[in-house]
């Protein structure tokens, strides 16, 4: 149903332009990766199974990130406040840590709670994360050692990927996407009017 709704909104199956969307439409849709991670409660989280039927917004970052991560999370938290409850309930926001050493489950949960308690925090081995990033055509994690004893800086993708209910990501949201853009796009991605 979702897929047909998306098509009716102008999303071709092979990607291409989507008239009303403000995110960056990808030429080739990306299939949801087969990824098993650990949530902040310590349980296993099968990305495909757990997000099946939801619009999933996936972002790879770390809690010590000084710029991109807090801005994306704050923007999405603000978006949640503006969405109708039925739209909000159909969306899952997943924050996958690219710094599992420092992002302990408690630290990750605490950090995400500052934005929205419903945001999911996930962890995994860097090799697993990099493999998933590769499948999603995103750059891998790069650790840049901190200077003069400072904490390391973790290079990570700056875009949020939006996986539709059909398991395909056709739109990505780079840094700079605003709250009003999300509020416009999310109902469209769910097959509803903005």
């Amino acid at each position: 149903m979702c897929f047909s709704a998306l098509v009716s909104c102008g999303v071709p199956a092979d990607g291409g332009s989507i008239g009303e969307l403000r995110g960056t439409v990808m030429e080739v849709p990306i299939l949801k990766p087969d990824l098993i991670l650990t949530d902040t409660e310590g349980g296993l989280y099968d990305f495909r199974t757990e997000t099946d039927g939801y619009l999933s917004l996936v972002f790879f970052g770390y809690t010590n990130c000084p710029d991109v991560c807090p801005v994306h999370m704050a923007t999405l938290a603000g978006v949640y406040d503006e969405l109708a409850p039925e739209v909000r309930d159909a969306i899952k926001v997943l924050f996958v840590s690219t710094d599992p050493k420092r992002d302990t489950p408690d630290r990750l949960r605490q950090w995400l709670n500052a934005y929205h308690p419903s945001f999911l925090g996930l962890r995994g081995e860097i090799e697993t994360i990099n493999r998933a990033l590769g499948e999603m055509k995103l750059p891998g994690v790069a650790v840049v050692p901190g200077q003069h004893g400072a904490e390391p800086i973790i290079g990570h993708p700056s875009a949020v990927l939006a996986f539709g209910r059909d398991g395909l990501a056709r739109v990505r949201y780079p840094f700079g996407v605003r709250r009003a853009d999300w509020v416009n796009d999310l109902p469209i991605l769910l097959g509803e009017s903005p």
């Binding site: 000084p66 710029d67 704050a74 603000g78 503006e82 605003r178 709250r179």
Partner: protein, 271 residues
């Protein structure tokens, strides 16, 4: 080398001190200009207390300008927090212009009488009606989201906005503060009404900041910490703009009212 604070979207804030050379130069220029003015203008006929209060007004104006434009408030307001940006506006666009005009000896205006063309232009610009419109149009334009997002990311644009605030503030306060003999008709009651009207006036940017469901300024919405919730910060900024400017205007009303009462009681036919 950074010479004026400007917005740097996506750049993380650090508490590392940064010099803002342009701000220091402007402050030095102001101090040098005031010193030069005082050496050229004869203010000896003014009471010593008034002369001291003029110098104090000038020092306070320079302090306000420096504190609000230099690090850390300058970069914080330019790039991270709309609420700090509005505090800068109160300092640069409302408080400092009033203090700078109060700092000028009456004799400053005497040369104007020898320059009728300049006097005419100045009189037209600073007529209460023109001043009201110029100030409010400038304030609305310089807080319009598209204008702020366009100008703030460059040093020149950011400087232009600050200069426009200062210019607007000087024009706004001129009919109230400057002893311009060409307008003896602007009575204390008129000044009180003029300030009260501006205190109560709801300007479009204020309404947008308070009532918009989304952040209206891109630079503050996409600012990394210490910015947190851009909408809360924006609403706080709206409150700062409205309540802060109203308090300054009401302070002006109180001073005018007090001076008016004192002058009435000093009249020979009073009592």
């Amino acid at each position: 080398m950074t010479w004026w604070c400007f917005a740097q979207p996506g750049t993380a804030w650090t508490w590392q001190w940064r010099p803002l050379i342009g701000v220091w130069l402007v402050m030095l220029l102001l101090v040098w200009g005031y010193h030069r003015l005082l050496s050229r203008v004869d203010d000896s006929d003014e009471p010593s207390r008034l002369r001291k209060s003029r110098r104090f007004s000038f020092a306070l104006a320079v302090f306000l300008l420096w504190a609000s434009l230099d690090w850390p408030l300058g970069p914080l307001g330019a790039s991270y927090l709309a609420s700090v940006h509005m505090m800068q506006f109160l300092a640069v666009g409302i408080a400092a212009p009033a203090l700078l005009l109060l700092a000028l000896p009456t004799a400053t205006y005497e040369p104007l009488s020898r320059r009728p063309r300049l006097t005419k232009v100045l009189s037209d610009l600073t007529h209460p009606v023109s001043a009201f419109f110029i100030f409010n149009i400038l304030m609305t334009a310089t807080h319009w989201p598209g204008v702020v997002d366009l100008f703030m990311p460059t040093q020149l644009g950011s400087f232009a906005l600050n200069a426009a605030w200062m210019l607007g503030g000087l024009i706004f306060w001129w009919p109230v503060i400057s002893p311009v003999p060409e307008r003896p008709g602007f009575h204390a009651l008129g000044k009180i009404a003029y300030l009260a009207l501006n205190a109560f006036l709801i300007r479009p940017p204020f309404a947008m900041m308070i009532f918009s469901e989304s952040p209206i300024y891109e630079i503050y919405e996409l600012a990394p910490p210490p910015a947190q919730d851009a909408l809360n910060d924006q609403q706080f900024a709206g409150a700062v703009m409205k309540i802060g400017s109203a308090w300054i205007m009401f302070a002006g009303v109180l001073v005018i009212f007090r001076n008016w009462m004192l002058s009435e009681s000093d009249r020979p036919d009073s009592a």
